[in-house]
Amino acid sequence: MLKEETVRALEQTARQLRVEILKMLNTAKSGHTGGSLSAIDVLTVLYFHQMRHDPSNPKWEDRDRFVLSKGHAAPALYACLAEAGYFSRDDLKTLRRFGSHLQGHPDMNKTPGVEVCTGSLGQGLSQAVGLAIASKLAGRSARIYSLLGDGEVQEGQIWEAAMAAAHYKLDNLCVVLDHNGLQIDGEVEKVMNVAPLGPKFLAFNWHVFEVDGHDIQAICQSLENAGEIKGQPTLIIARTVKGKGVPFFEHKASYHGVPPSDDELSRALEHLGHS
């Protein structure tokens, strides 16, 4: 169990990062709001509690690595990287601009701290599997983390990667599934049902946990538990709310790829206690 004050501090960080996400999307005038907000609590725990990494040395060989397989949530990743010190917070204002190192989707050759290029859904998990195998081959204790969308798992490649991760007994791989129930065209259940997710991954020989993806304490606990699992990769199904933290964005597929307007931004910041 984490100390109460550690949890409060992480919650405060997550709230601050929500503010950064909303501001950068508003400035960019395009980008993915809903899936960045649903993912930010998990990313906050990963970057500010769980992962061993060194922002002053992004290429440190023994670092834990994170693969944002649902690459459209780049704003959430960029907010974490800036907060951690990989680059200046001012850079966030250049999101999606011509010439910026902050591309619409994560680019390992442009942005310090980004491990692989993602954005085409379904491809990140395979790369995380490769990273996990490389880590084992090099005899490193580093862990590999990845975040998937619940629409993203409709891609066949996800299941090919899931098969491989179990086959190679990648217990250094921990995948979080951002289960917000929505994709672009509506509810995942109605577009192309992926349920039941837990039993599917169990059948693929993964260890599966399920948590409230906005409960910092629970996320920390499950990530820690994942570290104890031997001989199997772990999937953490994080029950989340798309647009979480901004009531008028919550549970809405229509805010998947729409940035906050000026008015929405100021109302959102009020909700987050930031004005």
Binding site: H105, I184, V194
Partner: protein
């Protein structure tokens, strides 16, 4: 200023009309139906609309099966995912058996804009064109898109149609004809010919007007059909004007420029300048910024024309 229409909007509208006219028309999408505009069809004909979810390979495979079962499937997603993710399904399940499926890929090229290079297809025309049995179309504007989609529906066999995200100027007239394998001369000229496709045709018309002020007479030939190519029209332009500038919102490798050069070097070698992305991926930015950065504006076309004339 001419009217501006996004080709994907023209697609959505035509698809709906086709759905009303022919009950065998079915539509598939991969979680992008709002952006590709197939949702317009899906709303009126939910029983003939199939959302594959984020599973492009399966979408193409299902489309093949629907065609084998006698339907006329239109399958849509962004060009990167259509030509890229589902490439081998298109090859084996559509092109090889000559299956009657229409892949309508929206968001082709760099005018996708802010999403960045991962989402900007600069290679789709090349890889689709390399497939035997495949027909590859790239309309210039809204009216031509309507006609091209209708021509594809009437044609028996696999067709790939590349459309764009942004609004583009109208250069054809409403109700225009479209014949697969035929190009269109949109402006007469005798000193050189711009051979263009997609949104570059409107840019070439502007460039030709600028050149006219310098007393250079530029012809503009639009090829909405990349494959089959209108070989006669291309050769005629080469013979009559003796210099060619190709322009496409695509890599200079393997697309329109490639197709034109292959034809010319075999039958009528003349100087050619290819305008397009020079073997690079795109990046984030506004559509206009990217067109300027990658050299796809009327001013760049004027420069290319001047270069080709010096080589004549």
């Amino acid at each position: 200023m001419s009217e501006m229409i996004a080709t994907r909007d023209a697609y959505g509208k035509t698809l709906l009309e086709l759905g009303r006219e022919n009950p065998r028309v079915v539509v598939l999408d991969a979680d992008l139906s709002g952006s590709t505009k197939t949702a317009v069809f899906g709303k009126e004909f939910p029983e003939r609309f199939f959302n594959a979810g984020i599973a492009e390979a399966n979408m193409v495979g299902m489309a093949a099966g629907l065609a084998a079962g006698g339907m006329i499937p239109f399958a849509s997603t962004f060009a990167v995912f259509a030509a890229g993710r589902a490439f081998e399904q298109i090859r084996q399940s559509l092109a090889y058996p000559r299956m009657n499926v229409k892949i309508v890929a929206t968001h082709g090229g760099i005018t996708v804009g802010e999403d960045g290079g991962s989402h900007q297809s600069v290679e789709d025309l090349a890889i689709m064109r390399a497939l035997p049995n495949m027909t590859v179309l790239c309309p210039a504007d809204g009216p031509e898109t309507e006609a091209a989609v209708r021509a594809a529906a009437a044609y028996q066999g696999p067709v790939f149609i590349r459309l764009g995200r942004s609004k583009v100027p109208v250069v054809f007239t409403e109700g225009c004809d479209f014949t697969i394998g035929r190009g269109a001369t949109l402006r007469q000229g005798s000193d050189l010919t711009f051979i263009t496709t997609g949104l570059m045709t409107a840019q070439a018309l502007e460039a030709a007007a600028i050149l006219a002020e310098e007393n250079i007479s530029a012809r503009v030939v639009h090829l909405g059909s990349i494959k089959p190519l209108d070989v006669d029209l291309v050769l005629q332009a080469a013979r009559e004007t003796g210099a060619i500038v190709t322009a496409e919102e695509h890599s200079v490798i393997g697309g329109l420029g490639g197709a034109v050069c292959e034809t010319l070097c075999e039958s009528c070698p003349v100087p050619v300048e290819r305008v397009g992305l020079r073997d690079v991926f795109g990046q984030s930015g506004l559509a206009e910024e990217l067109l300027a950065h990658y050299g796809l504006t009327p001013a760049h076309l004027v420069e290319a024309a001047e270069r080709v004339l010096r080589r004549k």
